[in-house]
């Protein structure tokens, strides 16, 4: 199990492994939005929490197809399925590796981008907390979507279509935490809900995803 985790991390950090590109994408969204929307600080401050969450979500989304598709294409997934590792565990480990490579760095980068978008000072703590609580759910839900589409060549966009509706609750609660936190309202309720989503998807989705992979390998 840990061998799989280390392999996935090592692959991510090797050339072409895509580490850092999720971050770059996040950065680009944060830069492009002011370019498109215009530079007024008050508008930007107002939309900053939402844009940061949407950006994090898209950055996560775009690296999802790497979770299983690479292993499927080169035959590793067949071999993993016939190996002694239980598929559920493999799915969970791969989602974890995905989070370590995208979600966690995104969380750490987000405050810097908050500066670019004029995020008010009170919000930073909540920004970090909400991303920390919510991004693992993004990785796990995404792994489920990736498992569904693993047999489909370049199913990247289909994957987005399947996964984004599933991301809606996470996104809403996540952005809500920041907004409420900044205005001094009750931010703990949405944060707790975010944690609950993460916990439940981490506990149940590996089974659904493993089933989907087995079907796809058939």
């Amino acid at each position: 199990m840990s061998a799989l985790l280390f392999r996935d991390l090592r692959l991510a950090f090797r050339a072409g492994g895509g580490f850092g590109l999720g971050l770059a994408f996040f950065l680009l969204v944060a830069v492009l939005v002011p370019l498109g929307v215009g530079p007024e600080p008050t508008t930007l401050a107002k939309i900053a929490p939402g844009i940061l969450w949407v950006g994090a979500l898209l950055a996560c989304l775009l690296s999802l197809d790497r979770i299983f598709a690479l292993d499927f294409e080169d035959g590793s997934l067949d071999l993993l399925a016939t190996s002694p590792l239980p598929m559920e565990g493999a799915v969970a480990v791969k989602a974890l590796a995905h989070w370590l490579v995208t979600g966690l760095p995104l969380t750490l980068l987000a405050p810097v981008l908050g500066l670019l978008l004029n995020l008010p000072a009170e919000s930073y703590l909540w920004l970090i907390l909400s991303l920390l609580a919510g991004t693992p759910a993004l990785s796990m839900i995404g792994a489920f979507g990736a498992a569904l589409t693993v047999g489909i060549k370049r199913g990247g966009l289909l994957l987005s279509l399947l996964v984004l509706p599933l991301y809606v609750p996470t996104l809403i609660f996540g952005a809500e935490v920041i907004k409420r936190g900044a205005s001094g309202a009750d931010a703990v309720t949405p944060l707790a809900l975010l944690v609950a989503i993460t916990a439940v998807s981490g506990a149940l989705l590996p089974f659904a995803a493993a089933a989907a992979i087995r079907v796809n390998l058939r």
């Binding site: 489920f144 569904l148 589409t149 047999g151 489909i152 199913g155 289909l158 279509l161 399947l162 984004l164 509706p165 599933l166 809606v168 609750p169 809403i172 609660f173 809500e176 949405p190 809900l193 989503i197 989705l205 659904a208 089933a211 989907a212 079907v215 796809n216 058939r218």
Partner: protein, 242 residues
């Protein structure tokens, strides 16, 4: 003989073939009566004016869209648990019908919103969750289209339908949390209660029944087409071996 016998394609074809003419006739009848009644023979609401006539398609379409998803969920569960091929095909057949109803509810709602709220679209929770619902439908249909092998597709879409249902409910809750909206409450409280009871209510009920029957008729026809195509495929496969 158990109910599951009807999951056999042949039995299903025979039975549905016999029922279908009646269902179609009933659909045409109830939908025709309901719509004509609603459009031509109901008074205007004193506050909403003639726009109240939109209710005769908006509400039936919205509730039929929700029911269609319920049918898909049940059919998916049956497929995953008991692996009856017809139920997978029912789920497949229901999706485009449900999506169309969802779009009808969205479009009529938007057209209604313009005179009532002064805007085509507002990010009201009901509206928003229905839009997300439409996205669920699209993803589901796209997955059916994208997977070549019919059994694989049935399995994958089944899993998606179950997981998606949970998240759809969660979204509904999340969206409420996010915004308090403009949309009508769960009761038919247009204005005065006595109005609702008969003048508006009766044709609405007929329309609701009509839309549900339409759903049933279309799903039966589509399921029958899918079964025929699968049979043709099976024959072609046998031919290839011979």
């Amino acid at each position: 003989m158990s109910l599951w016998e009807y999951a056999n394609p042949k039995k299903f074809m025979a039975l549905s073939g016999r029922l279908l003419p009646w269902i179609v006739a009933l659909t045409v009848l109830s939908l025709g009566i309901g719509i004509i009644w609603g459009f031509f023979f109901t008074p205007d609401d004193y506050k909403q004016g003639s726009t109240v006539k939109i209710i005769y398609i908006h509400v039936p379409a919205a509730s039929a869209a929700i029911n269609a998803w319920a049918v898909m969920l049940v059919a998916s569960l049956i497929w995953i648990v008991r692996r009856h091929h017809v139920s997978a095909l029912v789920a497949k057949a229901a999706a485009p019908v449900g999506l169309t109803f969802t779009l009808i509810a969205l479009i009529t709602g938007a057209l209604w919103g313009q005179p009532m709220w002064g805007t085509w679209w507002a990010w009201d929770p009901r509206l928003t969750s229905f839009l997300i619902f439409a996205l669920f439908y699209m993803g589901y249909i796209a997955l059916w289209e994208a997977v070549e092998n019919p059994d694989t597709a049935a399995d994958l879409t089944g899993v998606l339908c179950i997981v998606g249902s949970v998240f759809a409910l969660l979204s509904r809750y999340a969206v409420n949390f996010w915004n308090q909206g403009l949309h009508q409450g769960a009761s038919l409280s247009l204005d005065a209660k006595e109005n609702v009871s008969d003048v508006f209510w009766l044709p609405l009920v007929v329309c609701i029944i009509g839309f549900e029957l339409l759903f049933l008729a279309l799903v039966l026809i589509r399921t029958r087409s899918e079964i025929r195509l699968r049979r043709a495929q099976a024959l072609a496969a046998r031919e290839r071996l011979a």
